[in-house]
């Protein structure tokens, strides 16, 4: 039994595996299958200042080794989240990352303010949602804006670790990461989804009602590993890696690339037990290789 615990900007995770924002809701449904305390943490569904209905359906499409989604941040709004979901989650003996998004900087700041007085463990600021018209990805693709929003949000969160979630739909991920680091982020997480499109050739119409959507799943894994590696080498703050992780081996690979913890998204749709299996497989790998602590492999890749 190896030591799977990791520390990400001061927060202790019993293991590095965190269901990603948006696929896991607030955990209620998965509790039927396994105890949430088995997880390193949980990233909750992206929350906005007020309730959002999201985009019209269909909101999902299958792609080779992956999927597209265009949910568009459907959520009950921050007040309801804090009142009805968060208290329950905080009882689950796992790290809670509250994922938030806003269509203006002000909105993001307001949401963060509301969370600052709660007991939530970390805030994950999504500046990279490709599925909403305003804000979302727009924030995440310009280094200056990304830095500014980080600074203003961190301002109201002096005592809470702020993780900023980055978009892969950019020319230079390290520019954004550095700017966010300079803005005061305590960690970055990446990647959010890759903007994609599918067309139903029988109807001649896009499969998603939103026309385009965010690609995730194993297909994006090599892109995510590359971006995690580049980012981990560019900033000093920890990187939470995600994008296509579906096995313990994938998680190990992404941690070798520089991730301090791992989020798991689409893989949970394929197999709802994926996070649990990944934890087990990571443990097996470490045991076989006689590595005592998972922390030893973070960023351990030796480039040629």
């Amino acid at each position: 039994m190896s030591d799977l615990s990791v520390n990400v900007c001061g927060v202790n995770f019993k293991n590095p595996i965190i269901p990603a924002s948006g696929v896991f809701g607030y955990g209620r449904e998965y509790e039927e299958l396994f105890p949430l305390s088995a997880l390193g943490g949980i990233a909750t569904k992206g929350t906005t200042i007020t309730r959002r209905n999201g985009n019209p359906s269909p909101r999902i499409a299958e792609t080779p080794s992956g999927m597209l989604n265009s949910v568009g941040l459907q959520n009950p709004g921050i007040d309801k989240f804090i009142d009805t979901e968060l208290p329950n989650l905080l009882k689950k003996n796992t790290v809670i990352l509250a994922n938030i998004a806003g269509s203006t900087i002000d909105e993001c700041v307001k949401i963060a303010e509301k969370l600052s007085s709660t007991d939530v463990h970390m805030i994950e600021l999504n500046i990279s949602c490709p599925n909403v018209k305003q804000g979302g990805a727009a924030f995440g693709t310009c280094p200056e804006t990304a830095g500014e929003i980080t600074r203003k949000v961190k301002n109201v969160l002096p005592d809470k670790p702020l993780v900023v979630k980055l978009s892969p739909n950019v020319t230079n991920i390290t520019d954004i990461a550095k700017s966010v680091e300079a803005g005061g982020a305590d960690a970055v997480s990446l990647i959010n989804t890759v903007l994609g499109m599918r067309i139903d050739i029988n109807t001649g119409r896009p499969i998603l009602k939103n026309n385009v959507g965010g690609m995730s799943g194993p297909a994006v894994f090599p892109l995510a590993v590359r971006m995690v590696w580049q980012t981990a080498n560019a900033v000093k703050i920890p990187v939470i890696g995600m994008g296509g992780v579906s096995s313990g081996k994938d998680a190990i690979e992404m941690m070798m690339a520089g991730a301090s913890a791992i989020q798991v998204g689409a893989a949970i749709f394929t197999d709802p037990f994926a996070p649990i299996k990944i934890i087990q497989e990571m443990n097996d790998f470490l045991d076989t290789k006689k590595i005592k602590s998972i922390s030893d492999i973070i960023g351990s890749v030796k480039p040629w």
Partner: protein, 257 residues
């Protein structure tokens, strides 16, 4: 909601129409709690997303459920390659099924095409109290007739081209029976235009219990990802319901067409 995930043995496979397959799966823990109208979310090798398929029959005694599906795309094609003795990976039973009421005296079950299978478990529940009206494109796609007969339900079949049973749509015999009155509930599953028409006719005839089963593309299948949204009314307010959890069965009054 209680459900489980597992790999279960296919006890029986049969091809029941062109490109349409029936699997009987041994899964006692699922059969034990499954309700008519619920579905199984099935993993297919090589695909990221599972495929939702309705539960067609529930045999608690044998610990089996039956599913019937048509090849529509790559996923169902791959699914159709499983054989007796193969394992099928299911997340089940999922969703909110049909409201069953042992006090109902007469109910109508309407299935259109591949929407027919979930009606069978209702026919088996209501037996002689039910009239099953099923509609298909043509004789080649007619399915489950023996089973409906065995259920004790009165059995009416229509085909669009008249090659089997009544020539025409299910709404025709449905209208005739409605006129006679005495209907406690209407249950339907099939293409949207059919469901819409049935809902309207039920409303006109003041049927309080008209329940329909909807389809939407799904991610998690259990209510966590909010992918399967469908616009509904709740207390006259617009509300994005989720087909996998609040559905697939909705009261027709709730649906915004």
């Amino acid at each position: 909601m209680k459900y489980t995930q597992g790999k279960y043995i296919i006890k029986n496979k049969s091809a029941i129409a062109k490109n349409t397959y029936s699997y009987t799966v041994r899964c006692p823990e699922v059969a034990d709690i499954a309700q008519p109208g619920q579905f199984a979310h099935i993993r297919v090798d090589g695909f990221t997303l599972r495929r939702p398929v309705s539960i067609c029959e529930i045999d608690k005694k044998c610990g089996t459920i039956r599913i019937v599906f048509e090849i529509r795309g790559n996923g169902t094609e791959e699914l159709s390659k499983l054989n007796e003795g193969s394992l099928i990976d299911m997340l089940a039973p999922l969703g909110h099924g049909f409201t069953l009421n042992s006090k109902f005296k007469k109910v109508i079950l309407i299935g259109g095409g591949i929407g027919t299978p979930p009606m069978l478990s209702l026919a088996q529940y209501y037996g002689e109290k039910s009239v099953a009206i099923t509609g298909f494109r043509g004789a080649g796609s007619v399915i489950l007739q023996e089973d409906f007969k065995n259920s004790g339900a009165e059995n009416i079949v229509c085909t669009d081209d008249g090659s089997y049973g009544i020539h025409g749509f299910v709404t025709q015999p449905f209208g005739d029976i409605l006129k006679k009155g005495g209907i406690d509930a209407v249950y339907a599953c099939g293409p949207m235009p059919m469901l819409k028409k049935i809902s309207e006719m039920s409303k006109e005839n003041n049927i309080a219990n008209c329940e329909i089963s909807l389809e939407e593309r799904m991610g998690c299948g259990i209510g966590a990802c909010l992918v399967c949204a469908c616009k509904t009314k709740k207390n006259d307010e617009e509300y994005f319901a989720h087909v996998c959890k609040e559905g697939p069965v909705f009261n027709a009054e709730e649906v915004i067409w």
